[in-house]
C-alpha cells in the first residue's frame, strides 16, 4: 500500500501542532463564538438542558412537591395500553390537523391570488387580512370567538334572521371542534403573506407564453402557478402542520382548559397541560410531550421524504 505524502504528514503534524491548531481555530472563530455566546447559553441552558431533564422526568413519578421517583417505562406503558384519553386527544388533534391545515392553506392561497391581481391599495388589504393572524393565538380572540358562537351569540342571531335555529356551537360536542377549525382557518394571514411573496416570484412571461398557446385561467393555475409555487406550499404546509399539532390557546380558553364538551376539544397539548398542571402528574405529562415531539418529527420527516416527488426547485 502506498502512502500518499499528504496522509503520512497529517498525524505527525497534529501531534506537534495541536496547541497551535486550537490557537488557530480560536483566532479565526473566537470572536464569532463570542458573539454567539448569548445564544449558546440560551440554547444549552434554556432549550437542551430542560429538554433532557424532561426526558428524565418522563421515566419518573413527579408531583412538583416531592422529588421525582424512577418508575421506568410505566408512564409510556400506560399511555400506549391503558389511556383512553390519550387516544381521544390523538383523535381530536389529527382531526384538527387534517382539516385545518389544507383548508387554511387553500384559503390563504385563494386570497393571495386575489390580492396578486394588481389591485390598488394592496398594502392596506394585505394588512387587514393579516390582522387576524397577529391577534390569532391571543386570549382576546378566543374570548371573542366564544361570544360569537355561543347559543345566543352573534352567529345564531344572524341565522335566526333567516329562520334557522343554530345550536350552541362551542358547547355542543358535535360542532365544538369544527368551530375551532374555523377559527384556525380564519387566521390565514401568515401563509397568505408567504404565498403572495411566492406568487410574485413567478415570471410574467411564462403566463404570457401560456396565454398565447391558448391556456385558460384554470389551466394556467394547475400547470404554472401551482407547480412553480410548490416550494412555498411545502414550506407553509410544514410550518402550519407543526403549529396545528401544537395548538393550545383557543381550546384552552373556549373550554377553560377542560377539553369540554365530553373531551371533544381535548387537544393533545391540552391533555398534556391537564395532566401536568391540573393533576400534577409531571412525569406522565413529560412522557406525553416526548411522544408529541416524535409524532411531529415523523410527520415532518415524511413530508421531507415525499417532497422530492412533488416540490419543484428548478430555478
Amino acid at each position: 500500500m502506498t502512502v500518499s505524502p499528504l496522509d503520512a504528514g497529517v498525524p505527525a503534524a497534529t501531534a506537534t501542532a495541536e496547541p497551535s491548531l486550537w490557537l488557530k481555530f480560536w483566532r479565526r472563530n473566537g470572536a464569532g463564538y463570542g458573539f454567539l455566546l448569548p445564544w449558546l447559553i440560551g440554547f444549552f441552558g434554556l432549550t437542551i438542558g430542560p429538554a433532557l431533564i424532561s426526558l428524565y422526568l418522563s421515566f419518573t413519578d413527579f408531583n412538583l412537591l416531592q422529588a421525582p421517583s424512577w418508575v421506568g417505562d410505566a408512564n409510556y406503558l400506560r399511555i400506549f395500553t391503558a389511556d383512553p384519553k390519550f387516544l381521544q386527544a390523538l383523535r381530536v388533534t389529527f382531526f384538527f390537523v387534517v382539516f385545518s391545515v389544507p383548508l387554511k392553506l387553500a384559503f390563504a392561497l385563494a386570497v393571495a391570488m386575489l390580492l396578486n391581481r394588481g389591485l390598488k391599495g394592496l398594502p392596506i388589504y394585505r394588512a387587514i387580512f393579516y390582522l387576524p393572524s397577529l391577534l390569532g393565538a391571543s386570549v382576546a380572540i378566543a374570548v371573542l370567538w366564544r361570544q360569537l358562537f355561543s347559543g345566543d351569540g352573534l352567529i345564531n342571531r344572524l341565522l335566526a334572521m333567516i329562520g334557522i335555529t343554530g345550536p350552541s356551537w362551542i358547547s355542543n360536542p358535535r360542532y365544538a371542534l369544527s368551530t375551532l377549525v374555523l377559527l384556525s382557518i380564519w387566521q390565514f394571514g401568515s401563509p397568505m403573506i408567504i404565498f403572495l411573496a411566492g406568487l410574485r416570484q413567478i415570471p410574467r412571461d411564462v403566463y404570457e407564453a401560456a396565454a398565447i398557446d391558448g391556456a385558460g385561467r384554470g389551466r394556467q393555475f394547475w400547470s404554472i402557478t401551482l407547480p412553480l409555487l410548490t416550494p412555498v406550499v411545502f414550506f407553509n404546509a410544514i410550518i402550519q402542520t407543526i403549529d396545528a399539532f401544537k395548538s393550545f390557546t383557543p381550546a384552552f380558553i373556549i373550554s377553560s382548559g377542560t377539553g369540554n364538551p365530553i373531551n371533544s376539544t381535548l387537544f393533545y397539548t391540552l391533555y398534556l397541560y391537564q395532566e401536568a398542571f391540573g393533576f400534577f402528574r409531571m412525569g406522565y405529562a413529560a412522557a406525553l410531550a416526548w411522544i408529541l415531539l416524535i409524532i411531529i418529527a415523523v410527520f415532518t420527516g415524511i413530508s421531507f421524504l415525499t417532497s422530492r416527488y412533488w416540490v419543484h426547485y428548478d430555478d
Binding site: 413519578d61 408531583n63 412538583l64 412537591l65 416531592q66 418508575v71 410505566a74 408512564n75 355561543s150 347559543g151 345550536p167 350552541s168 362551542i170 358547547s171 355542543n172 360536542p173 373550554s255 377553560s256 382548559g257 377542560t258 369540554n260 364538551p261 365530553i262 373531551n263 391537564q274 398542571f277 391540573g278 393533576f279 400534577f280 402528574r281 412525569g283 406522565y284
Partner: protein, 431 residues
C-alpha cells in the same frame, strides 16, 4: 406599606424593582418583616384582604406584605410550581381538598406550637379547628364556615309565579317548579334549575341524605354503581321533562362564576356555596338569595355540613413562621379586620368576632350568616377530606360522564357502572 401584585401591574412593578436595583436603592432594611401572601379569589376578596393587610401594617409598622392572587384554576398550578421551586409564599390560602396532600408532603407547617402564643383560638369553633387538622396536627386556620347552597334568582321565581325554594324544598318540588317555569315561559324560556348531574357537591349531598358518602375515611368510594344509575336517571327525567337547562346550555358552564346558568340567565337556580352569594350577586342584575340543596323527600336530612370554606396555612419552608402566625391570629380575631372582611370568606369561627360584626352586615351577608347558623336537621357531620386524585373525579370524570348522558351518548344504566369503574381507576393511580 403593602404592595400588591396582580397580572395587570406585575410588569410595571417588576420593571420598577429592576430600576430600583439598577440605581442601587435598597427597598428593605434588615429588621423589616417581609411577608409574602398568596390566595385565590375575586377582586372583591383581594380588596378586603388588602384592607386587613393595611390594618395589620398599621399595628406592626416594621411589616411589609406582598400579595398575589389568582383565579381558582390558575391558583393551584402556581402554588405547586412555587412550592416545588422552594419559593412558596409564607402565608398560603389552602382548601379542604388540598390540605391533606400539602400537609403529608410537608409543604405546609404544623401550627400547634403557636397556638396559645401567637395564635389565639380561645373562642374558636371546635369543628372549625378540627377541620384544619391532618393526622391530629393543626395545619390550617379556618377563615370561616360555609355550606353548599342553591343560589336563587328570586325575581325570576316571582315572575314565573312559583314559590321561591327554601330549606324544605324537595326534588319533587324541583320537578314541579320546572314544570311551572315551562308553562310561564319567562325571559325566552328560562328554566327553573341548572342541570346538577355533574355537580359533585350536589351528588355528595344526595348521597349523604341516604347515609352514604362520596369517600370513606380510608379513601375509597362511598357509593356503588346502582347509586350512580339512580343519580343519572333522576337528572335524565328532569332533563326530559324540560325542568332543567338543555345540555348545550349546561356545557357553557366551564367553571368560572360568570359562566354559571344563573348568571347567564339560563336558569333561576345554580348549585354553589353559601359564601359565594356575595360574588354571585355582584354578577347578577336580579336580587339573589340562598336556599339549601333539595331534600330527597320531606324530612330527609343530614346532607349538608359546615365546612371550613378555606384556610390560612404557613409554608414549611418559611423563615417567618412566627410572624405569619401573628398575622393569622390578627386576621381571625381582630374586630376591625373582620368588619372589613365581612362573610366573604365564610362565617367567622371566633364567637366574639361573629357577635361584633353581625349588626353591621349588609342584608345579604346577614342571609348568608343566618343560613349557615340555622341549617337545623339538614346538618350532618363533616366528612373526611377527599383522597388524592379525587380532584380529577370531580372536575373531569363526573362532569364528562354527566355530559355524555345528557347529550344521549350513553344511558344512565351504562353510565353508572362505567363511572364507578373509571373513578376506581383514578383513585388507584399513583403517578
Amino acid at each position: 406599606m403593602s404592595f400588591r401584585i396582580d397580572r395587570r401591574n406585575f410588569l410595571m412593578g417588576s420593571s420598577a424593582v429592576l430600576a430600583a436595583g439598577a440605581v442601587g436603592l435598597r427597598p428593605a432594611f434588615a429588621d423589616d418583616v417581609n411577608l409574602r401572601q398568596i390566595f385565590w379569589g375575586s377582586k372583591a376578596r383581594a380588596d378586603r384582604t388588602n384592607g386587613v393587610n393595611d390594618l395589620f401594617i398599621k399595628a406592626n409598622p416594621a411589616t411589609k406584605i406582598a400579595t398575589e392572587f389568582y383565579a381558582w384554576n390558575d391558583y393551584w398550578p402556581k402554588l405547586a410550581t412555587m412550592t416545588g421551586g422552594g419559593n412558596a409564599p409564607d402565608i398560603i390560602q389552602m382548601d379542604y381538598r388540598y390540605i391533606v396532600e400539602y400537609a403529608n408532603r410537608q409543604a405546609i407547617a404544623p401550627l400547634d406550637a403557636f397556638v396559645g402564643k401567637e395564635i389565639d383560638l380561645h373562642d374558636f369553633d371546635q369543628d372549625q379547628i378540627d377541620g384544619g387538622k391532618v393526622g391530629g396536627k393543626l395545619f390550617g386556620i379556618s377563615l370561616g364556615a360555609n355550606s353548599v347552597a342553591s343560589i336563587v334568582n328570586t325575581a325570576a321565581f316571582k315572575e314565573a309565579g312559583v314559590a321561591v325554594p327554601d330549606n324544605n324544598s324537595t326534588y319533587d318540588d324541583l320537578a314541579a317548579a320546572g314544570e311551572a317555569f315551562k308553562k310561564a315561559n319567562i325571559r325566552g324560556g328560562m328554566k327553573a334549575f341548572q342541570d346538577g348531574s355533574g355537580v359533585e357537591p350536589l351528588l355528595e349531598n344526595w348521597l349523604r341524605q341516604q347515609g352514604k358518602a362520596l369517600y370513606t375515611a380510608d379513601g375509597k368510594l362511598g357509593f356503588d354503581a346502582d347509586d350512580m344509575v339512580k343519580w343519572f336517571k333522576l337528572w335524565k327525567d328532569l332533563r326530559d321533562a324540560g325542568a332543567v337547562v338543555s345540555p348545550d346550555d349546561q356545557a357553557l358552564d366551564t367553571g368560572p362564576l360568570d359562566q354559571t346558568m344563573v348568571v347567564l340567565g339560563k336558569a333561576a337556580v345554580t348549585f354553589a356555596n353559601s359564601n359565594q352569594l356575595v360574588a354571585f350577586q355582584a354578577l347578577m342584575k336580579d336580587p339573589a338569595t340562598i336556599a339549601a340543596f333539595p331534600r330527597m323527600a320531606k324530612g330527609s336530612k343530614g346532607g349538608h355540613y359546615r365546612k371550613p370554606s378555606m384556610f390560612w396555612s404557613v409554608a414549611n419552608a418559611s423563615k417567618l413562621q412566627s410572624d405569619s402566625a401573628k398575622y393569622l391570629s390578627f386576621f381571625i380575631n381582630d374586630i376591625g379586620a373582620n368588619k372589613v372582611l365581612g362573610v366573604e370568606r365564610g362565617i367567622p369561627a371566633a364567637a366574639a368576632v361573629r357577635q361584633a360584626i353581625a349588626p353591621g352586615l349588609s342584608a345579604q351577608d346577614q342571609v348568608a350568616l343566618n343560613f349557615v347558623s340555622n341549617l337545623g336537621d339538614l346538618l350532618g357531620p363533616i366528612p373526611p377530606p377527599p383522597p388524592s386524585n379525587a380532584g380529577e373525579i370531580d372536575i373531569d370524570l363526573l362532569l364528562k360522564k354527566s355530559q355524555e348522558i345528557a347529550f344521549g351518548q350513553q344511558s344512565p344504566e351504562d353510565g353508572g357502572p362505567d363511572f364507578v369503574k373509571q373513578a376506581n381507576d383514578i383513585l388507584a393511580r399513583k403517578g
